[in-house]
């Protein structure tokens, strides 16, 4: 009997992951086709192009030799990111509520931190051709500096990723912990149960403020404009992803779409008290919430230039204060 329950839970969680993954492949296309392209008055790509066709195309492309001191680890990092996002989704399913170590906010934060650390490692381990020295013009007499220490542009994105870990993603974590002020528990089961009994946290003053903070944190962790300093086209180009080609780039694309959806599901769980249940109509609410967040992000990013530190620091500071306010209101 007990083993049947376990098998049923595993199968349900697996189906949830598969369904969510399939839906997530459409999100990047929806963002680009129906938001960015519409705002910019152009046709845009096919909806299935960025999330489905592009990864398929990359899967069958020839790989390039990576200029990295640890190529094995560098190539493994997108796979690790994908696994982390999958674990995050599993942690949010009701089936995982039976494992408190996995379905707690501490575990969620830990998994998100692993995701962030991966960007630091990707940047640090990439040495692409974009920053190579040109021996003759760089070292000839008359060059500005003959013996300077060369840095790769991926190094900049690595340092920026580290900066984002230390303070950039702080608003998101504040928003994640804000629901605790109501449920008085870090376990997702308790947070969901409290909201099912007392109504969604989103519809309180504290919850509404925390939702705004969550949204800004969502954009920061997804490296979307205007917060995409780790992959700004104006300087570091693709940043940590620079040298990923072939199937590794395909995984990067798939992970991004999947991460968008999982963060939407996370919002549903923490702010609406609706976990992803594949056998219930509630899964549609999870997907709808993910879509709403994608729409909002698309609109915001289409009308914003990329931030530099001058704009980023005040924004993060302001959002952090807002997050603290949400928690303070929740406690009161």
């Amino acid at each position: 009997m007990f083993s049947n329950v376990i098998i049923y839970s595993v199968i349900t969680a697996a189906i949830t992951v598969i369904v969510c993954f399939i839906v997530s492949t459409l999100l990047p296309g929806i963002e680009r086709k129906y938001i960015h392209a519409r705002i910019q008055q152009r046709i845009g790509p096919l909806v299935i192009s960025p999330g489905i066709l592009a990864p398929i195309k990359f899967m069958f492309k020839e790989n390039v030799k990576v200029e990295s001191p640890v190529p094995g680890l560098y190539k493994a990092l997108p796979i690790i990111c994908f696994i982390v996002v999958t674990c995050l989704l599993i942690a949010l399913t009701p089936q995982a509520f039976a494992i408190p170590a996995l379905s707690s906010l501490v575990a969620i934060v830990g998994l998100l931190k692993v995701e962030e650390i991966c960007y630091v490692l990707m940047g640090a381990l990439s040495k692409s051709v974009m920053s190579v020295r040109m021996p003759f013009p760089d070292q000839i007499k008359g060059a500005a500096h003959n013996n300077s220490n060369r840095s790769f542009i991926e190094d900049i994105s690595s340092r920026r990723s580290l900066r984002m870990i230390t303070y950039g993603s702080f608003p998101l974590y504040l928003a994640l912990f804000a629901p605790i002020t109501q449920s008085r528990s870090i376990f997702l089961a308790d947070i969901v149960a409290y909201q099912q009994a007392h109504g969604p946290y989103l519809f309180t003053v504290s919850g509404a403020i925390a939702a705004i903070v969550f949204f800004i944190g969502y954009m920061i962790i997804l490296n979307e404009y205007p917060f995409s300093i780790i992959k700004a086209k104006s300087d570091v180009i693709e940043g940590p992803y620079m040298e990923y080609a072939s199937k590794y780039r395909a995984i990067v694309y798939l992970t991004r779409g999947f991460f968008m959806l999982v963060l939407g599901v996370l919002f549903s769980v923490l702010f609406l008290g609706i976990p992803p249940v594949i056998t219930s109509v509630n899964i549609l609410i999870n997907i709808l919430v993910a879509l709403v967040l994608v729409f909002m992000m698309g609109i915001m990013s289409a009308f914003s230039p990329v931030f530099t530190n001058r704009q980023l620091l005040p924004t993060i500071l302001g959002t952090t204060l807002l997050g603290i306010l949400a928690i303070a209101l929740g406690v009161l």
């Binding site: 008055q41 920053s131 040109m134 013009p137 760089d138 500096h145 300077s148 060369r150 205007p226 104006s234």
Partner: protein
């Protein structure tokens, strides 16, 4: 900006970018020497697109050489062929029909519009504001179609020939009407864009006080064109060109020499170009568009300077038996490289490409310039 850090005190970490970089439309390579993501010094290297056009021009019949100058630049192709013809016309004393002069001015100003729109769109793209960038590109599209209507092509649309303009570039009533209508569309679109752009506080915070080039420094570096005028210097060669004698326009200046001043400079200058084109449409005289009544003879080196979208363009050559000798061409970007290197200093590396772009580089043209080394 005047208190520039001495080179010896700089902690040197070099971040090279280019020659291929998505923020740069041109093939140049820049080495940024940075300290904590703040650029302390920059060095631009060009030369990867050297085509030796001046060398190819040596000994060519002047008509062929003129046609070749159109290939120097894909953005200001008309300006090059115009100035090259103008050089020979000054040397040979050829009189240009007034109608042809008007058509040259119209083409010159249309080219200025498309170049400035490209600049604005590229600036927005480097800011990573794709929506603004796209909207300017749509405006530019109207200008490109007009250039194709008059010149026959979207890129190589030069209309000047020795003694006037090509007969196919003559403007009939239908073309003049379309020009007039499209000027209204462009003005409306540009006004809307400029208002939105200025009202966007996030964009303003990204571009205000960034890439400052002080007026004193700009003059010392012999900066030219809108980049110079964005530092407050009212110097525009069009005020001295006989082609513009019959036109009323203002020389636009901006006070600060930063990215904001440069972007606004181009936008405001575009309104002046629209004004000039409207005057040309209203007052274009009847008559022939080419003067074929001239004789070829040998000349000394003749020089011609005109104001092109990016600054002062210089062409000079001598004529021997109808062939070009000692040809020298100097494009505005050659003079503005110093400004590009200077403008980056003190700004964050994210803004560095923007600081270069604000000086409107066109290195594909510049790469064929001759450097004179004095020993």
């Amino acid at each position: 900006m005047d208190e520039k850090v001495p080179r010896s005190k700089i902690i040197e970490t070099e971040i090279p970018m280019g020659t291929v970089h998505p923020a740069a439309l041109e093939p140049y390579r820049v080495r940024f020497f940075v300290e904590d993501e703040i650029v302390q010094e920059a060095e631009i290297t060009i030369g990867v697109n050297h085509r030796g056009i001046e060398r190819i021009m040596e000994g060519l019949p002047v008509e062929k050489a003129n046609a070749l100058t159109e290939k120097i630049c894909g953005i200001c192709s008309n300006s090059h062929i115009w100035n090259s013809c103008r050089t020979a016309e000054i040397g040979l004393g050829i009189e240009i029909p007034e109608r042809a002069t008007y058509i040259r001015v119209i083409m010159g100003e249309l080219e200025r519009l498309h170049s400035h729109f490209l600049y604005l769109a590229h600036g927005c793209e480097v800011l990573s504001h794709e929506t603004f960038s796209m909207r300017v590109f749509y405006l530019r599209e109207i200008v490109m179609e007009l250039l194709a209507m008059i010149g026959g092509n979207r890129v190589q649309y030069g209309c000047s020939v020795l003694g006037g303009v090509r007969p196919r570039c003559d403007l009939d009533e239908a073309k003049l009407l379309r020009l007039k209508e499209d000027m209204d569309k462009i003005e409306e679109g540009l006004t809307g864009f400029a208002n939105r752009f200025i009202a966007d506080s996030i964009v303003m915070s990204r571009i205000t006080g960034i890439g400052v080039l002080p007026q004193k420094q700009a003059i010392e570096l012999a900066v030219t064109g809108p980049t110079l005028r964005a530092t407050g210097v009212a110097r525009d060669l069009r005020t001295t060109m006989f082609e513009y004698d019959n036109f009323d326009f203002n020389v636009i200046t901006q006070p600060d020499g930063d990215v904001k001043s440069n972007l606004l400079m181009r936008a405001l200058e575009s309104f002046e170009s629209i004004k000039i084109i409207r005057q040309a449409i209203a007052n274009i005289p009847e008559g022939k568009v080419i003067n074929t009544d001239w004789e070829m003879f040998d000349t000394d080196i003749t020089e011609s300077y005109i104001e092109v979208p990016r600054g002062t363009l210089y062409h000079s050559y001598a004529l021997e038996s109808g062939r070009v000798r000692h040809c020298v061409i100097r494009t505005p970007s050659m003079a503005n490289i110093g400004a590009m290197q200077y403008a980056c200093i003190g700004d964050q590396i994210t803004d560095a490409q923007l600081c270069i772009v604000q000086c409107d580089p066109c290195f594909t043209c510049t790469d064929r310039a001759i450097e004179i080394i004095r020993r």
